[in-house]
């Protein structure tokens, strides 16, 4: 459903994303990993239209979307979360999500938007109370709100940027389950950026690794976890845990 080829992003003289090509299939969860500053969020920004690519093509459902403004892309069905949550603090939690529901789905009906908001909030486990304020949300709550906003836009492809950062382990597991549910129940395709390998490897179907803006590896979790280059630039001594997690995932999938 998504086909990216030759994607490049330069900031001044610095190339943050360098000639990256990949594809994502319907119903898949693709893990996107790589060292800090390797260009993951930048790719998300280009996919969602927040940044215009310097060059390259992004085909989504057969249409070229590279360089379209964000609202057009969202209306075509790509939803995203931000790595650092960006809630609208002057709106209530419900309004935050209803807003995304209304505009993200092409401004059709307010009723539909509010239904979508209720569904999404319930899905991520936030209260559907219409007056609850964002100020009361902790780190985990804000991450959930990001997800709920993205879901309310009724995406077919969800870009989740570090949905687990700063969560405690209990909540991390919950969140991972949530992502999987989103795929399983709603049939939403997901690209997931995360640094917590123990969780990521258990959930994703496929992994792509970036370094210095270039793709250095791609494949099944177990294969990537064993790739010496990935271990060197990214996993380090975490490699064992990662491989264990990948192995467990394969076992579960197989069984």
């Amino acid at each position: 459903m998504l086909e990216v080829s030759g994607l490049v992003k330069r900031f001044g003289g610095f190339t943050a994303v360098n000639n990256v090509s990949f594809r994502v299939d319907q119903g898949e969860i693709l893990g996107l990993i790589g060292p800090n500053g390797s260009g993951k969020s930048t790719i998300f920004n280009m996919l969602s239209g927040t940044l215009a690519p310097s060059s390259g093509s992004i085909l989504f459902g057969g249409h070229e979307i590279a360089g379209l403004p964000p609202h057009r892309i969202i209306n075509r069905g790509i939803g995203r979360t931000f790595q650092i949550p960006r809630p609208f603090r002057r709106l209530t939690i419900f309004e935050n999500v209803a807003l995304a529901g209304f505009y993200g789905q092409g401004r059709h009906s307010r009723v539909k938007a509010e239904e979508a908001a209720e569904r999404s909030l319930a899905m991520v486990g936030l209260p559907t109370d219409r007056h609850a304020s964002v100020d009361g949300l902790g780190a985990a709550g804000l991450k959930k709100l990001e997800l709920a906003k993205a879901l309310a836009t009724a995406p077919t492809l969800l870009l989740a940027d570090e949905s687990l950062g700063g969560l405690d382990e209990a909540e991390m597991d919950q969140a991972a389950d949530m992502l999987r549910n989103i795929r399983d129940e709603l049939g939403i395709t997901i690209i997931w950026v995360e640094h917590i390998m123990g969780v990521l490897m258990r959930v994703v179907d496929r992994v792509m690794v970036l370094d210095h803006g270039e793709k250095i590896s791609e494949g099944l979790p177990s294969a990537v976890a064993g790739d010496p280059r990935v271990i060197e630039v990214y996993l380090g001594t975490d490699a064992e845990t990662t491989q264990a997690a990948a192995a467990e995932a394969r076992r579960r999938a197989g069984g």
């Binding site: 390797s38 790595q83 405690d168 640094h195």
Partner: protein, 234 residues
């Protein structure tokens, strides 16, 4: 070295800490763990003076921190790496580091400290003229730690330093904590990454809903049922 007795603190009418007692001895590395919203960050803030306790005593080497204006607390040797980095996004990396050495006591050693920090994080040296706000999450974390190191502190407060970092870098950070500690610095570190953090600290506190639930050496904590059940959510 650092001593908290019966500290209450909060935000407006909301109380986040309830009678917290905590000790850090010189040269020690101490961890603080606990679920989201437990009050860990609040604890760090109350030590570095960003918020004021509503009750209780805080002492650093016998100096009463409660009576010290917050901008003077740094010169007592406490450096705080805040949650979410809090860099100055429109300043270059260099200028951010410079801000870390703002105190009179630190200005003289600016050049030396800069060397130390660049040694720790060569990436920062490469990017010294980039605006901090445009760097990746991990680079920003390095910059934040570097900035705190610039003041040549005795006690380093680290609030979730590994959040958002790539596994290799997380390793590095924990290595770094070890090294910092080995160099004689005292470290108080808040982490979600319990397994990892307990490997590098001597002792740890478990905080939950604003109160200290358990404390002990790393080994004790790893073994403790309270920790497992309350925190690891098994």
């Amino acid at each position: 070295m650092l001593e908290l007795r019966g500290v209450n603190a909060g935000y407006g009418t909301f109380q986040a800490l309830f009678g917290v007692n905590l000790d850090v001895k010189a040269g020690e590395a101490v961890g603080v763990i606990g679920p989201n919203g437990a009050g860990k960050t609040t604890l760090m803030r109350v030590i570095s003076g960003l918020i004021r306790p509503s009750r209780g005593a805080i002492k650093m080497e016998d100096v009463d921190l409660v009576a010290t204006p917050s901008h003077k607390i740094v010169s007592l040797g406490i450096a705080h790496v805040p949650e979410n980095r809090r860099l100055f996004p429109q300043l270059t990396v260099d200028d951010n580091l410079k801000m870390g050495a703002f105190m009179k006591e630190a200005r003289g050693h600016y050049a030396e400290r800069l060397e130390v920090v660049f040694d720790l994080f060569p990436r920062l040296k490469e990017r010294r003229h980039q605006m901090a706000g445009t760097m990746s999450g991990g680079e920003q974390q390095m910059c934040a730690i570097g900035r705190a190191m610039m003041s040549n502190p005795k006690l380093l407060l680290l609030d979730e330093p590994s959040a958002g970092l790539a596994p290799v870098v997380v390793q590095q950070v924990f290595e770094l904590v070890k090294r910092i500690r080995a160099s004689g610095l005292t470290v108080l570190i808040v982490e979600q990454n319990v397994q990892q953090v307990l490997k590098v600290v001597d002792r740890a506190y478990l905080i939950e809903a604003g109160t200290i639930r358990a404390s002990g050496t790393s080994a004790e904590m790893l073994a403790s049922d309270t920790v497992k059940e309350a925190y690891l959510g098994v």
